[in-house]
């Protein structure tokens, strides 16, 4: 009983941390602060993945998102961002009021999503990888066997996509002649 309560408490704390840090991420004026709060969000999300028995994805989340992508974003912010965009308020075609009204339209979507999340009816078949079976073999090993077995073709396509991304980034950021 104690262990059950503990797991749930960890989930609630991590969920609150995700919500608060993502709110702070979208509201900070300084983009560096936004990026740092984003890293907090990614770590809290990784904790939730751990609670949901996805250990490999949790580690990949920390390494790929919090490690690689956020470092890249921080470097680009340091290279690029001189102004906060605060002083040129006048000549923007789309006013802040317009943006906020569209954001309110999106919040209506939140209410619909919440109803869907609370009153959905699951109709999927139960798969063949229960948590105990995966844990006996190891989460990463199961993932690897699936990735290099059943999903080998999407895996190869993903590697080609990464190659295209590397070449595209080099071509885009090259100095113009």
């Amino acid at each position: 009983m104690g262990a059950i309560g503990f797991k749930f408490v960890v989930f609630i704390v991590a969920a609150l941390l995700v919500i608060v840090s993502s709110l702070l991420m979208t509201t900070r004026k300084n983009p560096i602060h936004s990026a740092l709060w984003m890293i907090v969000t990614f770590f809290a999300m990784a904790v939730i993945y751990l609670l949901l028995n996805a250990q490999f994805i949790a580690v990949a989340q920390i390494m790929v998102y919090a490690g690689a992508i956020m470092m890249l974003i921080l470097f680009v912010i340091m290279m690029v961002s001189l102004d906060n965009g605060a002083q040129e308020q006048k000549r923007f075609p789309m006013a802040m009021g317009t943006r906020l009204s569209w954001a309110l339209v999106v919040v209506v979507l939140l209410v619909e999503l919440m109803f869907a999340a609370l009153f959905y009816q699951a109709t999927a078949k139960v798969g063949s990888y229960p948590a105990e079976a995966v844990a006996s073999l190891g989460n990463a090993k199961t993932m690897g066997m699936l990735l290099y077995g059943k999903y080998i073709f999407p895996f190869e396509i993903a590697s080609i996509l990464l190659l295209v991304g590397i070449i595209g980034a080099v071509v885009l950021s090259r100095k113009n002649k």
């Binding site: 993502s22 994805i57 991304g165």
Partner: protein
Amino acid sequence: MLQEIPTSYCYLLSAIVFIIGAVGAITRKNAIVIFMSIELMLNSVNLVFISSGNAFASMDGSIFVFFVMTVAAVEAAVGLAIFVMLFRMKGTVNADEASLMKG
């Protein structure tokens, strides 16, 4: 195994985080912050995949999240290269200044 987290709670959290990301992507002007908001939306979708895969005893959720992460990494590389190029052309990464296509 211990008792699971209720799946509805994960869906609720995912909905909230997705909307925070969407509102951020609409209301912010800095292109890099817009990009981070889009990453946040991708992350909330990943949460739905993981919790559904956990609820239905399937590994497909984790596999799909792996591919979403790959696409997000490629998107980060190309998107940030575009921001660097935009900064060279315009001297700012304000999304409203990037109106070459009269959007």
